[in-house]
Amino acid sequence: MCRWASALLLLLALDASAARYVGVGRPATEAEVRAWDIDVRPDFSGLPAGEGSVSDGEMLWIAKCTSCHGDFGDASHVFPALVGNTTAEDIAGGRVAALRDPGRTRSMMMKLATLSTLWDYIHRAMPWDAPKSLRADEVYALTAYLLNLADIVPADFVLSNKNIATVQARMPNREGMTDEHGLWKVDGKSDTRNRACMQDCLEKEATVLSSLPEFAKGAHGELQKQHREYGAIRGTRTLPDAIAAVNPQDLLEANRCLSCHGMTDKIIGPGFAQIATKYQSRTDAIDYLKDRIRNGGRGVWGEVAMPAVPQISDADLDTITRWLGDGAPH
């Protein structure tokens, strides 16, 4: 074989795949890869240059983050608390002691072993309703503010791509992760070892150690309505007729009410039980609530306005407001 032919064959072999799927796909441009390849690894590869101060972070925080996370990142009414329960000893040792205590709330900062995770996530997914709207410097500032709330950096700190590795060395739970388990590889070894005994397997008769308490039986609504209503196996009745007939959960879900209102407690707007309590003595409560739902309103419960819900059907509006008038039972 002459030299140029073997060179050509070598080229073909190198690019065999392209030959196989002719006309399918194309090379990505550098600009395209830059636009989408936004991930930041624990070794900070992928981290853009920039900086942000704790005080800038505080301003951004108040503008964009407090409604979900609270002024100090410790609120848990919408999402789990971001900071709390980490100590100076944890920062020194790299393990968060409160994680051993089942009684303590698990905040984000208690778990966070890799600072890159926080930077990457704020950058790609926050704020909640406007993800990817923050510039790199803003992400540094917000990260710095959270680190300061957890006493990992001082109040006058400016976080940057140049000093972030030194902050990583102070993360309270930096030694808290393990991958010593059998759940990464498909042929990994399990940490439980039951055997398939077939007869007289128990030393003593099985006794019930845990069951659903009586008061919780209706917590998931009318179970009869979550099963077929014919045949010899039916859903168990769990609610008295008056409540079962309404099934408020489904209506609230269908009309997107539950994004902002909890059944009992405030999320962004007040909880339904709170609304029911507030208006229980008002004689025109039903008409008032119908108007508020249909047309929206503001200034009664706080800063955040109640958006109008023009598309809600008359029947749903009627059922929901009557249910609120009955005290919002569920």
């Binding site: 072993a113 388990h181 099985a206 917590a219 998931h220 179970l223 099963h227 196996i233 008295p240």
Partner: protein
């Protein structure tokens, strides 16, 4: 073949049949008190005594000696012209099936865009999940993507970073495979104690579909993956959260699929339209929806959903990170918690078994809380990392029972008891709860979720 002898059993009517209207009204108005409770128990007992010895079928005949009115009098649908073809251009379930819906567990999450809707396993059949009832778990809401504008990029440790359109992927060699998807947090609420009433909420973050798409290995080869240096891939979504997860390179080059279709049609938006990753045997969060990018890397990425969420807390305060494989698990879907058996006699005990490490080899069922076991029939086909349906006949004689199922997979691994699982991982792990589930059947026929020891 001899038919199963069904002894004449007691009959328990549904509550509406033996409580008079005024009693129901009073309870509706004023709720239950101890007096009304005991009245109801007496009414139950009386109804039972009167009808002792009657089966459901006998009861129907007793009311109408000449025969079943539904046989003797033709219903409207037998005596009228039916609906035309394409009356519903996209078919829907029968109206009478509308109780079976995806549902949220109240109080589990406070924001519906970052929540779970559970599959109603209690009323489902076979090994495939009806597409409209596939469970939902989103981290920042679901989105409806324009397939014309969607792109998949492959970059990182490849000879050439490449971009594919949906149309490009449809031109590549395709595979169609049946696999289960289970959220790592399925059964999470039950680690410490019983918390929810029905199998929809205990096990309903579980679904299975026939997926069609391109093997990820095909795309990685097309881009010239650096097999020497590659240790993992990062998968990333195109939604607001742009969720990311690290996947082991051995999985990525084996059976992972870049899927565009499920159960014969393009994916549903809630399930990742137009592209999602299918990572057989691995927890659902890794099956990245609205997939926009695959990056080949030599180090794991510690993304938010593998560093803050989906990490398993051990009693000593350590978290297991990158726990991925869903180990063998099974559950009886009927009879199950929140149901009531209205009569004694024959029942088809049915359920699902699966393993993230391969095929189901065997499923055993116990009626006495785990003391004695019988091997169930497995429906075919039995596929790797897919749901396997099991069935077993049971004649309920009206006495209390505790039902359990226990799977063994092809590696010989046997599904653990709660005691074994807690001994290994404590009660705060949240993820990867694959313990044996117990359903208690009371003499009244009421089935409830229990944990036994």
């Amino acid at each position: 073949m001899s038919p199963i002898e069904a002894p004449a059993g007691r009959l328990l009517l549904a509550p509406e049949s033996f409580l008079d209207a005024s009693f129901v009204e009073t309870v509706a108005r004023e709720g239950f008190n101890e007096e009304r409770r005991s009245w109801m128990r007496r009414a139950f007992a009386a109804a039972t005594a009167t009808l002792a010895g009657a089966t459901l079928a006998e009861r129907a005949l007793a009311a109408s000696p000449a025969g079943d009115p539904d046989i003797l009098t033709l219903p409207a649908w037998s005596t009228a012209l039916g609906f035309p073809v394409a009356h519903r251009p996209y078919g829907m379930p029968a109206k009478s099936e509308s109780n079976l819906q995806r549902r949220q567990s109240p109080g589990l999450t406070s924001v519906a865009q970052s929540s779970v809707a559970f599959t109603p396993l209690q009323g489902m059949f076979g090994m495939i999940t009806a597409t409209g009832l596939h469970f939902e778990r989103h981290h920042q809401g679901w989105v409806e993507i324009d397939p014309v504008r969607h792109r998949l990029m492959v970059n990182g440790l490849v000879r050439q970073a490449r971009v594919y359109t949906v149309d490009d992927l449809l031109r590549l060699p395709s595979v169609s495979r049946i696999h289960f998807i289970e959220c790592g947090a399925n059964t999470a609420m039950e680690w410490g104690n019983v918390a929810v009433p029905t199998v929809q909420y205990t096990h309903g973050m579980l679904s299975a579909s026939e997926y069609t798409g391109v093997l990820l290995a095909t795309l990685l080869d097309d881009c010239g993956v650096d097999r020497k240096r590659a240790r993992c891939v990062l998968a990333e979504g195109a939604d607001g959260s742009s969720l990311t997860r690290t996947i082991d390179i051995d999985r990525a080059l084996d059976d992972v699929i870049v899927a565009y279709a499920a159960n014969g049609e393009m994916l549903r938006p809630e399930n990742g339209y137009p592209l999602r990753l299918v990572v057989p045997g691995v927890q659902g969060v890794s099956w990245v929806k609205w997939l926009r990018r695959i990056e080949v890397g030599d180090q794991r990425y510690a993304t938010k959903d593998e560093a803050l969420g989906y990490v398993d807390l051990l009693p000593d305060g350590t978290h297991r990170q990158y726990s991925s494989i869903q180990e063998a698990k099974s559950v009886i879907t009927s009879p199950s918690g929140g149901q009531t058996l209205l009569a004694t006699g024959h029942y088809n005990v049915t359920g699902l078994a699966w393993s993230g490490r391969g095929k189901v080899r065997r499923v055993d069922v116990s009626f006495d809380g785990g003391d004695n076991w019988q091997t169930a029939r497995l429906e075919s086909p039995i596929l790797t990392k897919a749901l396997t349906r099991f069935n077993l006949s049971w004649i309920w004689d009206g006495s209390p029972a505790i039902l359990q199922s226990r799977v063994m997979d092809e590696t010989g691994f046997v599904q653990p008891t709660y005691a074994q699982l807690r001994a290994a991982r404590g009660t705060r792990s949240i993820y990867h709860n694959n313990a044996i589930q117990s359903w208690q059947v009371a003499a009244s026929g009421e089935v409830s979720n229990v944990q036994v020891g």
